[in-house]
């Protein structure tokens, strides 16, 4: 699939890529941290929203890597949701998290 940079046509797939500095990246990490704490993470464009509800046991993977001048820190959080893909609630714009593929 061609690289789609943001929200793809698949409703449960969101992607955001940007360049930040240390100061601005913390804003994102804080928001994500709060979302996990509250059990509700919102990702969206004006038209589509993806809401993830982390709960139960979450798997955390941390990978750090340095090769030549390139450094990479990978944080991956995954879990199983009890709701199937497409079983959205009353608000048709809200699409609940599907299974992590």
């Amino acid at each position: 699939m061609e690289k789609s940079n943001f929200m793809s046509t698949f409703d449960d797939d969101f992607r955001y890529e940007s360049i930040q500095d240390r100061e601005s990246i913390v804003k994102y990490l804080t928001v994500l941290g709060e979302g996990i704490q509250n059990g509700r993470l919102l990702f969206g464009t004006r038209r589509k929203k993806l809401i993830l509800e982390p709960g139960g046991l979450l798997k955390l993977e941390v990978k750090a890597k340095r090769k030549d001048r390139k450094v990479k820190l990978n944080l991956q959080i995954s879990w199983s949701s009890d709701k199937e893909k497409g079983s959205a609630g009353a608000d048709s714009l809200e699409i609940k998290a599907g299974k992590k593929r």
């Binding site: 940079n5 360049i19 919102l42 990702f43 969206g44």
Partner: protein
């Protein structure tokens, strides 16, 4: 002036010459027919015509050298006579090669074999070059003359590809006699191209009175650029009929040593407005710093298009130096570039504020960028409570903010100050500027930002070269910042960031490596956000970290 009314009609050279062109064209046409049907009658006609052509050549030669037309002839008339003599010599050579081809026919069983190679294309190229000779000389038309020269380069390329095919067929065990015969024939046709090049060069000599070696053809490259900047696909199809840069063409020139007093030239053909602009800019630059731009040898308009013959500058582009040169050479050239800029900036400074409009320039090209990279058009996004602006929102904001941002003074800028538009001659230790058609008095930051990003955008990821590019970029940043401080330019940083955003974004349209183009786009967006964050505060207080420019 029509040449038949001039010096050449005195002794009837014009008539002999036209006849000679006609006969040689016929000779080449008949040679093709003879190859296709081996008609013995046709073959004997070709032999007979060869004698006639030899005779014509001698007549022309005699008239050129011995007749009394030399009496009070000026240089221009003499050049013309000399050129006619060179052309007729080369026409005779073409006729001889035709006879050589015909002599191979007996060794070539099976005409079907011939069709597997592009012999028809060879004939087409030779004949279309020859058809231009009379008109080109008659109208003193450099464009047509250059098209004649171009036949040689096209024939060379055609020969190279057919040569490889013959070799491949030989390796696969096909009949060597037949294939070698074929190779001879194609080689004779290719050599007709050598003569056509001499003919084209002789016509150019008659027009401008100097010996030129046609070095390179930039027509296609130019029209592609024009398409990206302002044109449409339709315009490009009309304008780009000449070949691309081919290796054989360039090596041919490099192998030959140059004759005394012979200039090498670059030819460009394109829209009248663009080339007129280039010519005028060159004149302007010559006044400011003689010898910095190339010399203009001729400028000609032909309806909508124009052609310009420029001095070919010996040396390497700064880009080539950075990619292949040693550090000493790179540093030397770079110091020279900075010294030249300081001199120009100081000499041409006009203390009247100017408005560069970087974001506007960039938005004018937005369509071209999205055509190549539709994915850059990203929407507004939300991550928890953070809302990111869409690209067009960011750009609109910046366009708006930029309205209040003027450069305090103008200097004469290059206008397209890429590292491949700067040539350094190591022997003479001199810097030259090329491609000056966008030059004008404007904010120096335009050249600064284009130069910086033209380092960044080199698609080279070898660590050694990359770190050299990064060093040049940063050094240039500090150099221009120091100039700004010395010149009392308080909004340097704010204008620079906009210039960089513009250059990052517009560079992506030439970058088909998606990942690298995306990287540049992301950096532009980052810088846009930094710029917009500062709104409401005085621009002279704005600063940004140049680390976003390091790759």
């Amino acid at each position: 002036m029509n040449y038949s009314e001039g010096i050449l009609s005195t002794d009837g050279i014009d008539k002999n010459f036209k006849l000679m062109v006609l006969e040689v064209v016929k000779q080449v046409e008949d040679t093709q027919k003879a190859l296709e049907n081996s008609d013995p009658h046709l073959i004997s006609q070709i032999d007979a015509r060869d004698d006639y052509i030899d005779n014509l050549k001698s007549i022309i030669e005699n008239k050129c050298f011995y007749s009394n037309l030399h009496h009070d002839m000026d240089k221009k008339a003499m050049d013309l006579v000399r050129s006619v003599n060179i052309i007729s010599n080369n026409l005779e050579r073409i006729a001889d090669l035709a006879v050589n081809i015909v002599s191979q026919i007996d060794h070539l069983p099976g005409k079907d074999e011939l069709c597997r190679y592009e012999y028809k294309k060879f004939f087409e190229l030779v004949l279309s070059g020859m058809e231009l000779i009379n008109k080109s000389l008659e109208h003193r038309d450099i464009s047509r003359a250059l098209k004649i020269c171009q036949s040689e380069f096209n024939l060379d390329a055609l020969f190279a590809s057919n040569f490889n095919k013959v070799i491949a067929d030989l390796r696969s065990g096909e009949d060597p006699q037949r294939l070698v015969t074929l190779l001879f024939i194609l080689n004779y046709l290719e050599r007709m191209g050598d003569s056509l090049l001499n003919i084209g060069e002789a016509i150019i000599f008659a027009v401008i009175g100097e010996k030129m070696k046609i070095h390179d053809f930039e027509a296609l490259e130019d029209s592609i650029e024009a398409y990206h900047l302002e044109g449409s696909v339709a315009d490009m199809a009309i304008e780009s009929y000449w070949g691309t840069r081919s290796g054989c063409r360039i090596s041919r020139v490099q192998k030959k040593s140059r004759a005394e007093g012979e200039s090498q030239v670059i030819f460009k053909e394109g829209r009248v407005a663009k080339l007129e602009k280039e010519r005028d800019s060159i004149n302007l630059w010559s006044e400011v710093k003689p010898g910095l731009p190339p010399k203009v040898f001729s400028f000609q308009k032909n309806g909508k298009s124009a052609s310009i013959l420029l001095e070919f500058l010996d040396g390497l582009t700064f880009q080539q130096i950075l990619m292949t040169g040693n550090s000493l050479l790179a540093n030397e050239a770079f110091s020279k570039i900075k010294a030249t800029l300081l001199e120009i900036w100081t000499a041409t400074r006009k203390d009247k504020p100017t408005h560069p409009g970087y974001m506007k320039q960039c938005m004018d090209r937005a369509e071209d960028i999205y055509k190549v990279h539709p994915e850059f058009h990203f929407p507004r996004l939300q991550i928890g409570s953070i809302e990111t602006a869409s690209f067009s929102e960011l750009a609109q904001k910046a366009v708006h903010l930029e309205k209040d941002l003027n450069a305090p003074f103008s200097v004469l800028i290059h206008g397209d100050f890429n590292i491949d538009n700067i040539i350094y001659n190591d022997e003479e230790k001199s810097i030259r500027f090329i491609d000056l058609y966008r030059s004008k008095p404007q904010d120096y930051i335009q050249d600064v930002s284009v130069f910086m990003i033209s380092n960044f955008r080199q698609p080279v990821f070898v660590p050694k070269i990359r770190s050299r590019l990064n060093d040049i970029l940063m050094d240039f940043y500090f150099f221009s910042r120091a100039f700004a401080e010395k010149s009392g330019d308080e909004t340097f940083h704010a204008r620079l960031i906009l210039g960089l955003i513009r250059s990052f974004l517009t560079s992506t349209r030439f970058e088909l490596n998606k990942e690298f183009a995306w990287e540049m786009h992301l950096r532009a967006v980052y810088l846009l956000e930094k710029f917009i964050e500062h709104r409401g505060k005085p621009w002279k207080e704005f600063r940004f970290s140049p680390s976003a420019l390091i790759y």
